[in-house]
Protein backbone atom coordinates (compact mmCIF):
# COMPACT_ATOMS: atom_id res chain seq x y z
CA UNK A 1 0.00 0.00 0.00
CA UNK A 2 2.54 2.57 -1.10
CA UNK A 3 1.00 6.04 -1.21
CA UNK A 4 0.33 7.37 -4.69
CA UNK A 5 2.75 9.76 -6.33
CA UNK A 6 0.45 12.76 -5.92
CA UNK A 7 0.14 12.04 -2.17
CA UNK A 8 3.90 11.91 -1.86
CA UNK A 9 4.34 15.20 -3.67
CA UNK A 10 1.58 16.87 -1.66
CA UNK A 11 3.17 15.72 1.60
CA UNK A 12 6.59 16.89 0.45
CA UNK A 13 5.22 20.36 -0.36
CA UNK A 14 3.46 20.42 3.01
CA UNK A 15 6.76 19.59 4.70
CA UNK A 16 8.62 22.34 2.85
CA UNK A 17 5.89 24.84 3.72
CA UNK A 18 6.15 23.82 7.38
CA UNK A 19 9.88 24.51 7.38
CA UNK A 20 9.24 27.88 5.73
CA UNK A 21 6.60 28.66 8.36
CA UNK A 22 9.02 27.77 11.16
CA UNK A 23 11.80 29.96 9.79
CA UNK A 24 9.79 32.95 8.52
CA UNK A 25 10.01 34.93 11.78
CA UNK A 26 13.79 34.53 11.80
CA UNK A 27 13.88 36.02 8.29
CA UNK A 28 12.03 39.08 9.59
CA UNK A 29 14.45 39.39 12.50
CA UNK A 30 17.34 39.08 10.06
CA UNK A 31 16.03 41.92 7.90
CA UNK A 32 15.34 44.04 10.96
CA UNK A 33 18.90 43.55 12.21
CA UNK A 34 20.39 45.18 9.11
CA UNK A 35 17.93 48.04 8.89
CA UNK A 36 19.59 51.40 9.36
CA UNK A 37 16.58 53.19 10.84
CA UNK A 38 16.18 53.29 14.62
CA UNK A 39 12.44 52.62 14.27
CA UNK A 40 11.79 49.67 12.06
CA UNK A 41 9.24 49.63 9.25
CA UNK A 42 9.07 47.42 6.16
CA UNK A 43 9.99 47.74 3.33
CA UNK A 44 13.44 48.64 4.62
CA UNK A 45 14.81 51.77 2.96
CA UNK A 46 18.46 51.73 3.95
CA UNK A 47 20.62 48.83 5.08
CA UNK A 48 23.51 49.06 7.47
CA UNK A 49 25.56 46.83 9.72
CA UNK A 50 26.15 49.56 12.30
CA UNK A 51 23.98 47.82 14.95
CA UNK A 52 26.27 44.79 14.80
CA UNK A 53 29.26 47.03 15.51
CA UNK A 54 27.42 48.70 18.38
CA UNK A 55 26.38 45.34 19.83
CA UNK A 56 29.88 43.88 19.74
CA UNK A 57 31.47 47.01 21.27
CA UNK A 58 29.04 47.24 24.16
CA UNK A 59 30.42 46.02 27.50
CA UNK A 60 27.01 45.06 28.85
CA UNK A 61 26.52 42.79 25.86
CA UNK A 62 29.85 41.12 26.63
CA UNK A 63 28.72 40.55 30.22
CA UNK A 64 25.50 38.96 28.96
CA UNK A 65 27.42 36.66 26.64
CA UNK A 66 29.87 35.61 29.36
CA UNK A 67 27.07 34.84 31.84
CA UNK A 68 25.12 32.83 29.25
CA UNK A 69 28.26 30.94 28.20
CA UNK A 70 29.28 30.06 31.75
CA UNK A 71 25.82 28.76 32.61
CA UNK A 72 25.55 26.74 29.39
CA UNK A 73 29.07 25.32 29.77
CA UNK A 74 28.61 24.09 33.34
CA UNK A 75 25.10 22.75 32.58
CA UNK A 76 26.52 20.80 29.63
CA UNK A 77 29.28 19.09 31.63
CA UNK A 78 27.01 18.12 34.54
CA UNK A 79 24.21 16.96 32.22
CA UNK A 80 26.58 14.70 30.28
CA UNK A 81 27.88 12.99 33.44
CA UNK A 82 24.52 12.70 35.20
CA UNK A 83 22.79 11.74 31.95
CA UNK A 84 25.28 8.94 31.25
CA UNK A 85 24.54 7.18 34.54
CA UNK A 86 20.86 8.10 34.38
CA UNK A 87 20.54 6.52 30.93
CA UNK A 88 22.06 3.26 32.18
CA UNK A 89 19.49 3.18 34.97
CA UNK A 90 16.78 4.14 32.47
CA UNK A 91 17.50 1.64 29.71
CA UNK A 92 20.27 -0.82 30.52
CA UNK A 93 20.07 -2.26 34.02
CA UNK A 94 17.05 -4.28 35.13
CA UNK A 95 16.40 -3.04 38.64
CA UNK A 96 13.33 -2.92 40.80
CA UNK A 97 12.32 0.74 40.51
CA UNK A 98 13.29 1.19 36.86
CA UNK A 99 9.82 2.01 35.51
CA UNK A 100 9.19 4.38 38.41
CA UNK A 101 12.53 6.07 37.75
CA UNK A 102 11.66 6.41 34.04
CA UNK A 103 8.46 8.20 34.90
CA UNK A 104 9.88 10.46 37.58
CA UNK A 105 12.56 11.89 35.33
CA UNK A 106 9.94 12.73 32.70
CA UNK A 107 8.00 14.89 35.14
CA UNK A 108 10.27 17.99 35.10
CA UNK A 109 10.06 18.07 31.27
CA UNK A 110 6.29 18.37 31.50
CA UNK A 111 6.37 21.19 34.05
CA UNK A 112 5.87 24.85 33.19
CA UNK A 113 9.40 26.17 33.31
CA UNK A 114 8.56 29.57 34.71
CA UNK A 115 6.77 27.97 37.67
CA UNK A 116 9.78 25.71 38.18
CA UNK A 117 11.97 28.81 38.29
CA UNK A 118 9.73 30.49 40.87
CA UNK A 119 9.60 27.33 42.99
CA UNK A 120 13.41 27.25 42.94
CA UNK A 121 13.55 30.93 43.92
CA UNK A 122 11.38 30.20 46.99
CA UNK A 123 13.45 27.13 47.83
CA UNK A 124 16.74 29.07 47.59
CA UNK A 125 15.22 31.83 49.68
CA UNK A 126 14.07 29.46 52.42
CA UNK A 127 17.52 27.86 52.75
CA UNK A 128 19.26 31.24 52.57
CA UNK A 129 20.97 31.13 49.14
CA UNK A 130 21.12 34.41 47.25
CA UNK A 131 20.28 33.87 43.55
CA UNK A 132 23.04 34.52 41.01
CA UNK A 133 24.11 32.87 37.78
CA UNK A 134 25.16 29.82 39.82
CA UNK A 135 21.61 29.17 40.95
CA UNK A 136 20.50 29.47 37.32
CA UNK A 137 22.78 26.50 36.58
CA UNK A 138 20.72 24.41 39.00
CA UNK A 139 17.48 25.69 37.48
CA UNK A 140 18.60 24.73 33.97
CA UNK A 141 19.70 21.29 35.19
CA UNK A 142 16.21 20.40 36.45
CA UNK A 143 14.94 20.52 32.90
CA UNK A 144 18.03 19.75 30.81
CA UNK A 145 19.54 16.81 32.75
CA UNK A 146 16.42 14.64 32.15
CA UNK A 147 16.50 15.51 28.44
CA UNK A 148 20.18 14.57 28.24
CA UNK A 149 19.31 11.30 29.99
CA UNK A 150 16.60 10.51 27.43
CA UNK A 151 18.94 11.19 24.50
CA UNK A 152 21.64 8.90 25.90
CA UNK A 153 18.97 6.30 26.81
CA UNK A 154 17.94 5.99 23.16
CA UNK A 155 21.52 4.98 22.41
CA UNK A 156 21.63 2.67 25.44
CA UNK A 157 18.58 0.75 24.21
CA UNK A 158 20.39 -0.36 21.07
CA UNK A 159 23.27 -1.66 23.14
CA UNK A 160 23.81 -5.41 23.48
CA UNK A 161 24.24 -6.34 27.19
CA UNK A 162 26.05 -9.50 26.08
CA UNK A 163 29.12 -7.32 25.44
CA UNK A 164 29.25 -6.32 29.11
CA UNK A 165 28.54 -9.87 30.23
CA UNK A 166 31.37 -11.24 28.09
CA UNK A 167 33.78 -8.73 29.63
CA UNK A 168 32.61 -9.68 33.12
CA UNK A 169 33.06 -13.39 32.37
CA UNK A 170 36.63 -12.66 31.37
CA UNK A 171 37.24 -11.11 34.76
CA UNK A 172 36.80 -7.38 34.15
CA UNK A 173 35.42 -5.47 37.14
CA UNK A 174 32.57 -2.96 36.97
CA UNK A 175 34.80 0.13 36.61
CA UNK A 176 36.80 -1.45 33.79
CA UNK A 177 33.61 -2.48 31.97
CA UNK A 178 32.18 1.03 32.28
CA UNK A 179 35.39 2.63 31.02
CA UNK A 180 36.31 0.17 28.27
CA UNK A 181 32.92 -0.95 26.93
CA UNK A 182 29.93 1.07 28.08
CA UNK A 183 31.39 4.56 27.79
CA UNK A 184 32.84 4.20 24.26
CA UNK A 185 29.65 2.56 22.99
CA UNK A 186 27.45 5.32 24.39
CA UNK A 187 29.84 8.13 23.34
CA UNK A 188 27.85 9.30 20.28
CA UNK A 189 24.76 9.61 22.48
CA UNK A 190 26.70 11.46 25.18
CA UNK A 191 28.08 13.93 22.65
CA UNK A 192 24.69 14.70 21.13
CA UNK A 193 23.28 15.04 24.66
CA UNK A 194 26.02 17.54 25.41
CA UNK A 195 25.22 19.51 22.27
CA UNK A 196 21.52 19.57 23.12
CA UNK A 197 22.27 20.60 26.71
CA UNK A 198 24.47 23.47 25.64
CA UNK A 199 22.05 24.81 23.05
CA UNK A 200 18.95 24.43 25.21
CA UNK A 201 20.66 26.20 28.09
CA UNK A 202 22.01 28.95 25.81
CA UNK A 203 18.54 29.76 24.49
CA UNK A 204 16.54 29.19 27.65
CA UNK A 205 14.57 32.07 29.05
CA UNK A 206 11.77 30.94 31.40
CA UNK A 207 14.07 29.04 33.77
CA UNK A 208 16.54 31.93 33.99
CA UNK A 209 13.94 34.63 34.58
CA UNK A 210 13.67 34.24 38.36
CA UNK A 211 16.84 32.38 39.17
CA UNK A 212 19.69 34.57 37.95
CA UNK A 213 19.31 37.23 40.65
CA UNK A 214 21.27 40.35 39.74
CA UNK A 215 22.97 38.64 36.79
CA UNK A 216 21.29 38.49 33.41
CA UNK A 217 21.49 36.11 30.46
CA UNK A 218 21.12 37.04 26.80
CA UNK A 219 17.52 35.75 26.40
CA UNK A 220 16.51 37.60 29.59
CA UNK A 221 17.91 40.86 28.29
CA UNK A 222 16.17 40.40 24.94
CA UNK A 223 12.85 39.74 26.67
CA UNK A 224 13.18 42.80 28.91
CA UNK A 225 13.83 44.99 25.86
CA UNK A 226 10.98 43.44 23.84
CA UNK A 227 8.40 44.00 26.56
CA UNK A 228 9.55 47.48 27.54
CA UNK A 229 9.83 48.90 24.02
CA UNK A 230 11.80 48.45 20.84
CA UNK A 231 15.57 48.67 20.76
CA UNK A 232 17.43 48.29 17.45
CA UNK A 233 19.86 46.01 19.28
CA UNK A 234 17.15 43.37 19.89
CA UNK A 235 17.10 41.91 16.36
CA UNK A 236 20.88 42.25 16.11
CA UNK A 237 21.60 40.32 19.31
CA UNK A 238 18.86 37.84 18.47
CA UNK A 239 20.52 37.06 15.16
CA UNK A 240 23.96 36.88 16.77
CA UNK A 241 22.68 34.32 19.26
CA UNK A 242 20.99 32.28 16.52
CA UNK A 243 24.08 32.36 14.32
CA UNK A 244 26.19 31.24 17.29
CA UNK A 245 23.97 28.19 17.85
CA UNK A 246 23.88 27.28 14.18
CA UNK A 247 27.65 27.53 13.85
CA UNK A 248 28.01 25.16 16.80
CA UNK A 249 25.65 22.65 15.15
CA UNK A 250 27.54 22.88 11.86
CA UNK A 251 30.79 22.32 13.74
CA UNK A 252 29.32 19.25 15.42
CA UNK A 253 28.14 17.83 12.08
CA UNK A 254 31.52 18.50 10.48
CA UNK A 255 33.35 16.80 13.36
CA UNK A 256 31.14 13.73 13.32
CA UNK A 257 31.57 13.43 9.57
CA UNK A 258 35.34 13.76 9.99
CA UNK A 259 35.44 11.09 12.71
CA UNK A 260 33.41 8.70 10.58
CA UNK A 261 35.61 9.11 7.54
CA UNK A 262 38.76 8.62 9.66
CA UNK A 263 37.29 5.42 11.09
CA UNK A 264 36.35 4.21 7.64
CA UNK A 265 39.78 4.85 6.18
CA UNK A 266 41.36 3.02 9.14
CA UNK A 267 39.02 0.09 8.68
CA UNK A 268 39.82 -0.10 4.98
CA UNK A 269 43.56 -0.11 5.74
CA UNK A 270 43.14 -3.21 7.89
Amino acid sequence: MRPSKSTRIALLIYGILTIAFLYLPLVSVGFASISKARYLSFPIRAYSTKWYGKALESESVQDLLITSLMIAGIVTVISMVVGFFGALAFARYQWRYRTLFQKIILLPIFFPQMVLGLALLMWFNSIGIIPSWKTAVIAHLVWIAPIATLIIAIRAYSFDPALEEAARDMGANTTTILREITLPLLMPGIISAGLFSFLLSWGNFPLSLFTTGADSTLPEWLYAKMVSGYSPLVPTLGILSVVGSFLLIMLAFALSWLMRSIKQSRASQI
Binding site: V29, F42, K103, F111, V115, N125
Partner: protein, 284 residues
Protein backbone atom coordinates in the same frame (compact mmCIF):
# COMPACT_ATOMS: atom_id res chain seq x y z
CA UNK B 1 23.99 -11.20 36.74
CA UNK B 2 20.62 -10.03 37.93
CA UNK B 3 21.92 -9.19 41.36
CA UNK B 4 24.66 -7.01 39.86
CA UNK B 5 22.11 -5.33 37.57
CA UNK B 6 19.93 -4.41 40.52
CA UNK B 7 22.76 -2.82 42.45
CA UNK B 8 24.21 -1.00 39.44
CA UNK B 9 20.76 0.24 38.42
CA UNK B 10 20.25 1.82 41.78
CA UNK B 11 23.75 3.31 41.89
CA UNK B 12 23.56 4.81 38.42
CA UNK B 13 20.15 6.32 39.13
CA UNK B 14 21.64 8.07 42.15
CA UNK B 15 23.29 11.17 40.58
CA UNK B 16 20.20 12.20 38.64
CA UNK B 17 18.06 11.25 41.61
CA UNK B 18 20.03 13.60 43.88
CA UNK B 19 19.87 16.45 41.34
CA UNK B 20 16.11 16.09 40.99
CA UNK B 21 15.49 15.66 44.72
CA UNK B 22 17.33 18.90 45.50
CA UNK B 23 16.13 20.97 42.57
CA UNK B 24 12.68 19.57 41.79
CA UNK B 25 11.08 17.74 44.72
CA UNK B 26 12.31 20.12 47.41
CA UNK B 27 11.05 23.28 45.62
CA UNK B 28 7.68 21.58 45.02
CA UNK B 29 7.43 20.93 48.75
CA UNK B 30 8.29 24.56 49.49
CA UNK B 31 5.52 25.68 47.11
CA UNK B 32 3.04 23.38 48.81
CA UNK B 33 3.96 24.76 52.24
CA UNK B 34 3.92 28.38 51.08
CA UNK B 35 0.48 27.98 49.57
CA UNK B 36 -1.09 27.52 53.01
CA UNK B 37 0.76 30.45 54.64
CA UNK B 38 -1.11 33.67 55.56
CA UNK B 39 -1.10 36.46 52.92
CA UNK B 40 2.11 38.40 52.15
CA UNK B 41 4.60 36.57 54.35
CA UNK B 42 8.09 35.65 53.13
CA UNK B 43 8.87 32.79 55.47
CA UNK B 44 7.41 29.35 55.97
CA UNK B 45 7.53 29.76 59.76
CA UNK B 46 3.98 31.06 60.19
CA UNK B 47 0.74 29.52 61.33
CA UNK B 48 -0.87 27.95 58.25
CA UNK B 49 -4.23 29.18 57.02
CA UNK B 50 -5.89 28.65 53.66
CA UNK B 51 -6.55 32.33 52.89
CA UNK B 52 -4.79 32.17 49.48
CA UNK B 53 -7.33 29.74 48.09
CA UNK B 54 -10.14 31.99 49.34
CA UNK B 55 -8.51 34.97 47.57
CA UNK B 56 -8.25 32.97 44.34
CA UNK B 57 -12.00 32.37 44.33
CA UNK B 58 -13.13 35.78 45.58
CA UNK B 59 -10.77 37.79 43.29
CA UNK B 60 -11.58 35.74 40.19
CA UNK B 61 -8.08 34.36 39.61
CA UNK B 62 -9.64 31.17 38.22
CA UNK B 63 -10.48 33.12 35.02
CA UNK B 64 -6.84 33.25 33.94
CA UNK B 65 -6.59 29.52 34.64
CA UNK B 66 -9.59 28.86 32.40
CA UNK B 67 -8.09 31.04 29.63
CA UNK B 68 -4.81 29.12 29.82
CA UNK B 69 -6.45 25.70 29.78
CA UNK B 70 -8.87 26.70 27.01
CA UNK B 71 -6.19 28.11 24.72
CA UNK B 72 -3.96 25.10 25.45
CA UNK B 73 -6.79 22.73 24.51
CA UNK B 74 -7.56 24.56 21.25
CA UNK B 75 -3.91 24.75 20.23
CA UNK B 76 -3.31 21.07 21.08
CA UNK B 77 -6.25 20.03 18.93
CA UNK B 78 -5.07 22.22 16.05
CA UNK B 79 -1.55 20.82 16.37
CA UNK B 80 -2.87 17.27 16.20
CA UNK B 81 -4.57 18.02 12.88
CA UNK B 82 -1.69 20.07 11.46
CA UNK B 83 1.01 17.59 12.46
CA UNK B 84 -0.74 14.32 11.55
CA UNK B 85 -0.08 14.40 7.77
CA UNK B 86 3.47 15.60 8.33
CA UNK B 87 4.18 12.96 10.98
CA UNK B 88 2.70 10.33 8.66
CA UNK B 89 4.99 11.53 5.91
CA UNK B 90 8.02 11.40 8.23
CA UNK B 91 7.22 7.89 9.45
CA UNK B 92 6.02 6.21 6.26
CA UNK B 93 6.54 8.26 3.10
CA UNK B 94 9.66 10.41 3.07
CA UNK B 95 13.08 8.83 3.01
CA UNK B 96 15.86 11.38 3.12
CA UNK B 97 13.49 14.28 3.62
CA UNK B 98 12.62 12.92 7.10
CA UNK B 99 16.18 13.65 8.20
CA UNK B 100 16.11 17.14 6.64
CA UNK B 101 12.79 17.90 8.31
CA UNK B 102 13.97 16.53 11.67
CA UNK B 103 17.13 18.64 11.64
CA UNK B 104 15.26 21.75 10.47
CA UNK B 105 12.63 21.42 13.20
CA UNK B 106 15.10 20.56 15.98
CA UNK B 107 17.25 23.58 15.09
CA UNK B 108 14.33 25.92 15.77
CA UNK B 109 14.17 24.52 19.32
CA UNK B 110 17.59 25.97 20.00
CA UNK B 111 16.47 29.51 19.18
CA UNK B 112 15.03 31.21 22.22
CA UNK B 113 11.24 31.31 21.82
CA UNK B 114 11.35 35.03 22.61
CA UNK B 115 13.31 35.70 19.46
CA UNK B 116 10.98 33.62 17.28
CA UNK B 117 7.84 35.24 18.71
CA UNK B 118 9.41 38.65 18.31
CA UNK B 119 10.04 37.69 14.69
CA UNK B 120 6.32 37.08 14.28
CA UNK B 121 5.61 40.53 15.69
CA UNK B 122 7.95 42.00 13.07
CA UNK B 123 6.27 39.87 10.39
CA UNK B 124 2.65 40.57 11.26
CA UNK B 125 2.65 44.11 12.70
CA UNK B 126 1.40 47.15 10.81
CA UNK B 127 4.40 48.15 8.70
CA UNK B 128 5.81 44.64 9.23
CA UNK B 129 7.19 42.19 6.68
CA UNK B 130 3.73 41.32 5.25
CA UNK B 131 1.67 44.47 5.57
CA UNK B 132 4.54 46.85 4.86
CA UNK B 133 5.51 45.21 1.59
CA UNK B 134 1.97 44.66 0.34
CA UNK B 135 0.99 48.25 1.11
CA UNK B 136 4.14 49.44 -0.64
CA UNK B 137 3.36 47.43 -3.79
CA UNK B 138 -0.43 47.61 -3.97
CA UNK B 139 -1.43 50.45 -1.70
CA UNK B 140 -3.75 48.17 0.24
CA UNK B 141 -2.99 47.95 3.95
CA UNK B 142 -4.76 46.47 6.92
CA UNK B 143 -4.74 46.80 10.68
CA UNK B 144 -2.37 44.73 12.75
CA UNK B 145 -3.76 41.26 13.56
CA UNK B 146 -1.70 41.24 16.75
CA UNK B 147 -2.84 41.63 20.33
CA UNK B 148 -5.87 39.36 20.53
CA UNK B 149 -6.71 35.81 21.55
CA UNK B 150 -6.42 34.13 18.16
CA UNK B 151 -2.86 35.36 17.65
CA UNK B 152 -1.93 33.92 21.06
CA UNK B 153 -3.30 30.52 19.97
CA UNK B 154 -1.34 30.94 16.73
CA UNK B 155 1.80 31.56 18.79
CA UNK B 156 1.17 28.46 20.90
CA UNK B 157 0.69 26.34 17.77
CA UNK B 158 3.90 27.76 16.31
CA UNK B 159 6.09 27.29 19.39
CA UNK B 160 4.89 23.82 20.42
CA UNK B 161 4.75 22.24 16.94
CA UNK B 162 7.91 20.13 17.48
CA UNK B 163 6.55 18.72 20.73
CA UNK B 164 3.56 17.30 18.86
CA UNK B 165 5.35 16.38 15.63
CA UNK B 166 8.09 14.10 16.95
CA UNK B 167 6.06 11.93 19.35
CA UNK B 168 3.38 11.63 16.68
CA UNK B 169 5.88 10.52 14.02
CA UNK B 170 7.33 8.03 16.51
CA UNK B 171 3.83 6.72 17.26
CA UNK B 172 2.88 6.35 13.59
CA UNK B 173 6.12 4.52 12.83
CA UNK B 174 4.96 1.89 15.35
CA UNK B 175 1.93 1.07 13.16
CA UNK B 176 2.89 -2.08 11.20
CA UNK B 177 2.47 -1.73 7.44
CA UNK B 178 1.07 -5.28 7.34
CA UNK B 179 -1.93 -4.28 9.44
CA UNK B 180 -2.79 -1.42 7.10
CA UNK B 181 -2.22 -3.62 4.08
CA UNK B 182 -4.48 -6.34 5.48
CA UNK B 183 -7.25 -3.85 6.23
CA UNK B 184 -6.99 -2.42 2.71
CA UNK B 185 -7.11 -5.90 1.18
CA UNK B 186 -10.26 -6.64 3.13
CA UNK B 187 -11.82 -3.57 1.56
CA UNK B 188 -11.56 -1.01 4.37
CA UNK B 189 -11.87 2.60 3.20
CA UNK B 190 -9.11 5.11 3.82
CA UNK B 191 -11.04 6.70 6.70
CA UNK B 192 -11.80 3.35 8.24
CA UNK B 193 -8.07 2.47 8.19
CA UNK B 194 -7.26 5.80 9.81
CA UNK B 195 -9.95 5.33 12.46
CA UNK B 196 -9.51 1.63 13.25
CA UNK B 197 -5.84 0.95 12.51
CA UNK B 198 -3.71 4.09 12.55
CA UNK B 199 -5.25 5.96 15.47
CA UNK B 200 -5.40 3.07 17.97
CA UNK B 201 -1.96 1.70 17.10
CA UNK B 202 -0.30 5.13 17.13
CA UNK B 203 -2.05 5.98 20.42
CA UNK B 204 1.10 6.11 22.59
CA UNK B 205 2.59 8.78 20.31
CA UNK B 206 -0.69 10.69 20.20
CA UNK B 207 -0.97 10.61 24.00
CA UNK B 208 2.60 11.80 24.60
CA UNK B 209 2.44 14.49 21.89
CA UNK B 210 -0.92 15.88 23.02
CA UNK B 211 0.10 15.78 26.64
CA UNK B 212 3.37 17.61 26.01
CA UNK B 213 1.76 20.31 23.86
CA UNK B 214 -1.13 20.77 26.27
CA UNK B 215 0.88 21.07 29.46
CA UNK B 216 3.56 23.27 27.89
CA UNK B 217 0.91 25.55 26.36
CA UNK B 218 -1.03 25.70 29.63
CA UNK B 219 2.04 27.01 31.44
CA UNK B 220 3.16 29.32 28.63
CA UNK B 221 3.48 33.06 29.13
CA UNK B 222 5.70 34.52 26.39
CA UNK B 223 3.03 34.06 23.66
CA UNK B 224 0.45 36.15 25.47
CA UNK B 225 3.00 38.79 26.44
CA UNK B 226 4.87 39.23 23.16
CA UNK B 227 2.21 38.42 20.53
CA UNK B 228 -0.93 38.97 22.58
CA UNK B 229 0.07 42.22 24.24
CA UNK B 230 -1.69 40.80 27.29
CA UNK B 231 -5.09 40.78 25.55
CA UNK B 232 -5.88 38.10 28.08
CA UNK B 233 -4.07 37.38 31.33
CA UNK B 234 -2.90 33.76 31.49
CA UNK B 235 -2.31 31.82 34.69
CA UNK B 236 1.49 32.09 34.51
CA UNK B 237 1.13 35.88 34.27
CA UNK B 238 -0.96 35.92 37.43
CA UNK B 239 1.59 33.73 39.18
CA UNK B 240 4.43 36.02 38.08
CA UNK B 241 2.55 39.14 39.14
CA UNK B 242 1.75 37.69 42.55
CA UNK B 243 5.44 37.01 43.14
CA UNK B 244 6.83 40.27 41.72
CA UNK B 245 4.56 43.34 41.86
CA UNK B 246 2.09 41.79 44.30
CA UNK B 247 4.83 40.70 46.71
CA UNK B 248 2.38 37.99 47.78
CA UNK B 249 4.28 34.71 47.77
CA UNK B 250 1.55 32.58 49.37
CA UNK B 251 -0.95 33.63 46.69
CA UNK B 252 1.57 32.91 43.92
CA UNK B 253 2.38 29.56 45.53
CA UNK B 254 -1.30 28.61 45.76
CA UNK B 255 -1.87 29.52 42.09
CA UNK B 256 1.24 27.53 41.13
CA UNK B 257 0.03 24.58 43.17
CA UNK B 258 -3.29 24.52 41.31
CA UNK B 259 -1.54 24.68 37.93
CA UNK B 260 0.98 22.03 39.02
CA UNK B 261 -1.85 19.84 40.28
CA UNK B 262 -3.65 19.91 36.95
CA UNK B 263 -0.52 19.51 34.83
CA UNK B 264 1.12 16.98 37.13
CA UNK B 265 -2.09 14.93 37.32
CA UNK B 266 -2.41 14.83 33.54
CA UNK B 267 1.29 14.09 33.07
CA UNK B 268 1.33 11.26 35.60
CA UNK B 269 -1.86 9.77 34.18
CA UNK B 270 -0.60 9.92 30.59
CA UNK B 271 2.93 8.76 31.28
CA UNK B 272 1.76 5.84 33.43
CA UNK B 273 -0.37 4.50 30.56
CA UNK B 274 2.49 4.45 28.07
CA UNK B 275 5.24 1.85 27.77
CA UNK B 276 8.38 3.95 27.45
CA UNK B 277 10.58 0.97 26.58
CA UNK B 278 8.45 0.28 23.50
CA UNK B 279 8.40 3.91 22.33
CA UNK B 280 12.10 4.53 22.77
CA UNK B 281 13.09 1.42 20.85
CA UNK B 282 13.82 -1.48 23.15
CA UNK B 283 15.22 -4.27 21.00
CA UNK B 284 14.83 -7.17 23.41
Amino acid sequence: MERIDRRLGFLSALPLGVVLALSFLAPMLVIAIFSVMPQKVFSVLNMPDFSSFGVIISQGYYKSLLWSLGMAAVSTFMLLIICWPLAYGMAKVFNRFTLVLTIAVVMTLFVSENIRLFGWVLTLMKGGLFEGHIRHWTGIGWDSPLYNVSVIVFGLVYVYLPFMLFPLAQGISMVPDDARQAAADLGASRWRILWEIDLPLAAPGIVIGSLLSFVLAAGATAESKILGGQAVIVISDDIETAFTFGQNWPLGAALSLILIGIIGGLAIYGVSRVDLDAIMGRKR
